[in-house]
């Protein structure tokens, strides 16, 4: 069975990072169908991760997570953005992986932060990291700021979550990203239709 590991790097017990990871996992499961999905929270492994950076080997429970990540078909990776980048604990976890652990794996990147001003951090910090690791990062990264969790932002966040999870799902089914350029003259697009279905001119 296709296996996906979701890594949530949120550092508080009830974090928006964990919430975003849950949303991505739910959307992926709904779109992909039958898959084994496991969610890992790095907070529980914090001491093990620091120990591994000092000793060069992973404790049994950290090794268990590393083995699952290495064996997974795809990854969902969600981290908060602190001081313009991912937190050190997240990077230390990545450092504990073998250099070739995620080569060729489809990876969906998500990030959370206080305001939308950090939204490009996915593209400026996470994408280069996973490019170095030679992972196959899906086109849509999902950034959620505090405002996205309000009533107004929820629909927009949902559609980004579904789009990104759909890309991961499509890649894991061997169907590419399932995305293509929109035709701006597409008379049947939702926008065009909202014009022609409006009030009759001159009425």
């Amino acid at each position: 069975m296709t296996s996906v590991v979701a890594i949530s790097s949120g550092l508080s017990e009830s974090s928006s990072t964990r919430r975003l990871a849950d949303r991505l996992v739910e959307s992926f499961g709904r779109q992909f169908g039958d898959a084994s999905i496991e969610l890992v929270t790095l907070r529980e492994l914090a001491h093990d991760i620091v120990d591994a950076t000092l000793t060069g080997f992973a404790s049994p429970r950290l090794q268990d997570v590393i083995d699952k990540v290495t064996a997974a078909d795809g990854l969902i990776v969600v981290t908060p953005i602190y001081k313009a980048s991912y937190p050190g604990l997240f990077k230390s976890f990545i450092d504990a992986l073998d250099t070739d652990a995620v080569i060729g794996k489809p990876v969906l990147l998500g990030a959370t932060g206080g305001t939308a001003r950090h939204s490009l951090a996915i593209d400026h910090t996470l994408r280069p990291l996973f490019a170095y690791l030679q992972a196959l990062v899906v086109p849509t990264g999902v950034y959620a700021s505090t405002y996205d969790w309000g009533a107004e932002g929820t629909n927009a966040l949902d559609s980004r979550v579904d789009r990104a999870a759909g890309e991961l799902s499509s890649l894991l089914k061997g169907a590419g990203t399932g995305r293509a350029r929109d035709d701006e003259f597409d008379l049947f697009s939702d926008t065009f239709r909202s014009i022609s279905q409006g009030p009759t001119p001159g009425a």
């Binding site: 120990d51 000092l54 000793t55 060069g56 080997f57 404790s59 049994p60």
Partner: protein, 371 residues
């Protein structure tokens, strides 16, 4: 001597004693290494090894010099390395130095060769750190030929060619020092050991056993592949580390500050976690016996067990006390290992048994010719 060898290996580190802030001078550390080596012989141990280092903070860059001095003051002790750099030393000079030591010590020398553990040593000796594996392969091929062939014509990538060269002195009794290959992460090194029918040494001190089991099993399988014997007959050496006191809790209390501040694992996992996850044993002599015997369950019956005892700033007096305690448990370790050991597993290599094996092979060959 029993079929298995026991010894002490040191990296010769100059580390602050965290309990009093003192640090040995280079001169004190050299004298301490000599005292430790002589003590190993006194307690009935078989081997003393030091690791080659060129970084400040360590003392022994010239192992054959140190070992010649120790050889002159000991009778039975085998002197070895943990490890000697096959990557950055000139194989011609290594062949000369260790053959000289072999003569002076009457055959009491073998080598554990390795790549070294700090990249900066490569440029210090004019070598490219990205060529570690290639240097290991080529330099060992040359070292082997310099000892095994009287006249060598040779050309390689990393040093000037040799034409009609004879490395002197020739190995004692025509049998070169036994070679082990040590590696903690390079499967190619295990392959070299298997190809030549040499020994394989896993330092087995800092990481969980699973890591070394994979390398040792690979070496054993490849040893068979190259026709040197069954996997069980391959020659394996292991490291280990302990801190003993008669009373287990005394050992823990005394060792904890050294553990907590040790250069390699200090300020990281707790002593308890590290003990559970690695071969380190801090406790009573009986606990050290039990943990050490368990190594054969994980790695198969093996030929050499080395222990690290003089690291992390432990004072010489304490190290010598540790060796006294090791001396007390050695008869039990020897008896227990021998009792579980199948007859087909070869004894640990010594100059005497290797000369005898060579003579027996020659006799068998000439008997075949006569027949």
């Amino acid at each position: 001597m029993s079929s298995m060898q026991f010894g002490i290996f040191s990296v010769g580190d100059l580390t602050v004693d965290p309990t009093n802030g003192s640090i040995p001078t280079e001169n004190e550390k050299f004298k301490a290494l000599v005292a430790i080596a002589k003590k190993v012989e006194d307690i009935g141990g078989d081997v003393f090894a030091v690791g080659e280092h060129h970084d400040s903070g360590f003392v022994p860059p010239s192992i054959s010099t140190l070992h010649a001095f120790i050889a002159a003051q000991t009778e039975r002790l085998i002197l070895s390395t943990s490890i000697a750099h096959i990557t950055t030393n000139d194989p011609v000079k290594m062949a000369e130095d260790y053959a000289t030591l072999q003569h002076l010590s009457d055959g009491r020398v073998d080598l554990v060769l390795g790549r070294g553990n700090t990249a900066q040593v490569y440029p210090w000796f004019g070598k490219d750190p990205s060529k570690g594996v290639e240097l290991t392969i080529e330099n060992y091929q040359l070292l082997r030929r310099l000892w095994d062939e009287d006249v060598v014509n040779w050309e390689g990538s990393f040093r000037t060619p040799l034409q009609g060269f004879t490395s002197i002195p020739r190995p004692l009794d025509g049998v070169a020092p036994f070679v082990w290959h040590g590696s903690i992460r390079t499967p190619e090194v295990a392959e070299i050991a298997a190809y030549y029918g040499d020994g394989y040494f896993a330092n087995n001190i800092f990481w969980p056993k699973e890591h070394y089991i994979r390398l040792i099993n690979f070496y054993r399988q490849r040893y068979e592949h190259y026709g040197h014997g069954t996997p069980e007959q391959a020659i394996v050496g292991l490291g280990g580390q302990f801190f003993m006191r008669k009373n287990s809790q005394d050992a823990v209390n005394e060792f904890r500050p050294y553990f907590d501040n040790a250069p390699v694992y200090g300020h990281g996992p707790s002593l308890e976690d590290f003990q559970a996850q690695t071969p380190l044993t801090v406790g009573s002599p009986q606990e050290v016996i039990e943990k050490t015997l368990s190594f054969a369950d994980f790695f198969g019956d093996y030929q050499r067990q080395m222990f690290l005892v003089d690291h992390a700033g432990l004072p010489l007096k304490t190290v010598l006390e540790q060796l006294d305690l090791l001396g007390e448990i050695l008869p039990t370790l020897r008896a227990e290992f021998d009792a579980r050991r199948p007859a087909a597993v070869p004894d640990a290599p010594t100059h005497a048994n290797r000369v005898a094996a060579r003579d027996a092979a020659l006799a068998a060959e000439s008997a075949q010719v006569d027949a």
